[in-house]
Amino acid sequence: MDDNTGPSRRPTLGDRRKERIDALATAGTVVDEPGKSLLRSAWERLRRDPVFLVGAAITLVFVVLAIISPWIAPWDVTANPLIDKVRPQSNPVPGPEPGHLLGADDRGRDLFSRLLVGSRQTLVVGVFATLLGLLGGITLGALAGAIGGFVDTVVMRIVDVMLSFPALLLAFTIASLAREPSQWTLIIAIATTQVPIFARLLRGSMLAQRSSDHVLAARSLGVRPRAIVFRHMLPNAMGPVIVQATLSLATAIIEAAALSFLGLGNPDQRQPEWGQMLGLAQRYISEAPHLAFYPAGCIIVVALGFTLMGESLREALDPKSRR
């Protein structure tokens, strides 16, 4: 496991998260085997790693489905073909029948189609929140790691304060600030919670690069500082950040579901979203629990896919665990 908290250390606010991030920062920085690049040997390990293969397969299926779902969904997600069978008193949620594999929701809309198309919002929110978080984190982390000194101190203080707050509470607060909630407020709220993680990670791995031989060589050759940062340090420091981004996709998806579940997500309920479907299913817990099981199952499987992929990527890129 990665959280080897030594007994002699003195952890304070958010220390555990910092430590995990720092441990990641040093992963993937050492290239020692002659003739075989880190990426290459990592790929060779991954190809035979069942954990990675399962994670990658889940992710691939999910992404492909999300892209093509509007064309393969048997019904229009906003249409309600089964509305005639909805009886608020006796039969609020029509069950499965030919043509409607999983039945319909409480508004007579085809559940299977909505589940399929729901993958889109999940993918969009997950990917954009992670990308935005990555962008913010890279900017801050590179700034701190490249300039150092006072800038480093200030940036890292801010980052540490952000890290000491529970991510989900931070996301709730930011999302509730929006005048008009939308998919984008959701994305921004989640991205904000990811920024400090990426920033700390990149800074750590930039610092590791700064003292490395190839940077020293570049400097002695008279390469301009800007080129050293952008061509020599940044690309080499990105490995652990990319690993973390994979893992962040899973957290982003779960956090997005939590926000939608509370009603802080996209207010447009015609477009399906898994977390929101799960939230609405609460009302029918005794009559139709399947209404919650399906979207929850989707969230869990997809989050697990990204987690498995991320964990195996991290292991493959970690020189310490290489055989």
């Binding site: 496991m1 908290t5 250390r9 003195r10 555990r16 529970p166 629990p289 697990l304």
Partner: protein, 336 residues
């Protein structure tokens, strides 16, 4: 020791100061500003103007900030608009606090009672099927959203098998005397055993769901920490001296391995609060979390303000206590 405590308290004051400033800025960035936050739906142009003058919104910013501090220190945060319409926001917090304290304490107890022994066992049998199973279990746990776990528990134990109550804190209509606001404790204090038992039954499902978050963390930390300590020289020395396995385990391994675990437990408070928002709203358990969920959704800014400020203060306070406890356990920290 005293210097250490004083330094930590000073640090805490700094955090509280920064927080108050953030909340001040936040209030001013709200749609309609603080006046809307306080008046909510009861605002008319006349009331608005009167309140603006009373709040001194025509004053310079630093004067406004000082006034805000003054009002906050008197506990004047405005009136709830949605959570408990008409009620004073601070009162909402005070009313709801015992419920969440009760819930979090039980959840934390469950997480510790399960997490530490399991983590210890997994580390002792490192690499065995028990260990691998436990680790996989904790990985899957990461992917299962806590609100879905809450839903599952509710569906099976409350709806399907009818073993435990579906929602709420106590059966309505039950005649129970209130003392502390923690219903289980109240029942014990007043010897109304049926009321206590009834409240406890309401508490089980939300507590189990909420416990899943700290459980996973405590389990992983305990496992990693015990693994570390087992490798230490002093453990080998103790074994070589011929001490019984029991003494080595209790005095050398567990005691040293518990240090990081203690800190982690303190850090769980924030996570518990975030988890309470989700679990309490699934079980309609009327605590801080449920109030926060409603306030977030319905934009009850007066209540949000109080809850966020108080939540942060509690979070920082608990961490201070943990740090002090830690310094008491581990003398190395005091000297640093």
């Amino acid at each position: 020791m005293l210097r250490f405590v004083v330094r930590r308290i000073l640090q805490m004051c700094l955090v509280a100061f920064v927080l108050s400033m953030l909340i001040f800025v936040w209030l001013r960035s709200l749609p309609g500003g603080p006046v809307s936050a306080i008046l909510g739906e009861r605002q008319t142009p006349a009331r608005r103007a009167a309140l603006e003058a009373a709040l001194g919104l025509d004053q310079p910013l630093h004067v406004q900030y000082l006034r805000f501090l003054e009002r906050a220190s008197q506990g004047k945060f405005g009136v709830s608009t949605k959570v408990l319409p008409g009620e004073d926001a601070l009162q909402v917090f005070l009313d709801r606090l015992p419920a969440t304290v009760e819930l979090s304490l039980l959840a934390l107890f469950l997480a510790i009672a399960l997490g530490i022994p399991l983590g210890y066992m997994a580390a002792r049998r490192h690499g065995s099927a028990v260990d691998t199973g436990a680790v996989i279990f904790s990985l899957v746990g990461v992917a299962v959203p806590v609100f879905f776990l809450a839903f599952l528990l509710k569906y099976f134990f409350a709806v399907e098998w009818n073993l435990l109550p579906v929602s709420g804190r106590q059966t309505t209509g039950l005649d129970a005397t209130r003392v502390t606001g923690m219903f289980v404790l109240d029942g014990i204090l007043t010897r109304e055993w049926d009321a206590s038992w009834d409240a406890f039954k309401h508490l089980i499902l939300p507590a189990v769901a909420l416990a899943s978050i700290p459980f996973a963390v405590i389990f992983r930390i305990t496992r990693a920490s015990v693994l570390d300590v087992l490798d230490e020289d002093y453990v080998r020395t103790a074994e070589a001296k011929g001490l019984t396995a029991r003494v080595v385990r209790g005095r050398h391994v567990l005691r040293n391995a518990m240090l990081p675990v203690v800190t982690t437990i303190g850090l769980q408070v924030g996570g518990l609060l975030a988890g309470a928002v989700l679990t309490e709203s699934v079980f309609s358990y009327r605590g801080i979390g449920d109030a926060l969920a409603t306030a977030f959704r319905e934009k009850d800014y007066a209540v949000l303000q109080v809850l966020i400020l108080m939540g942060a203060v509690i979070f920082v306070l608990v961490n201070l206590l943990v740090d002090i406890a830690y310094a008491l356990i581990d003398p190395r920290i005091r000297t640093r």
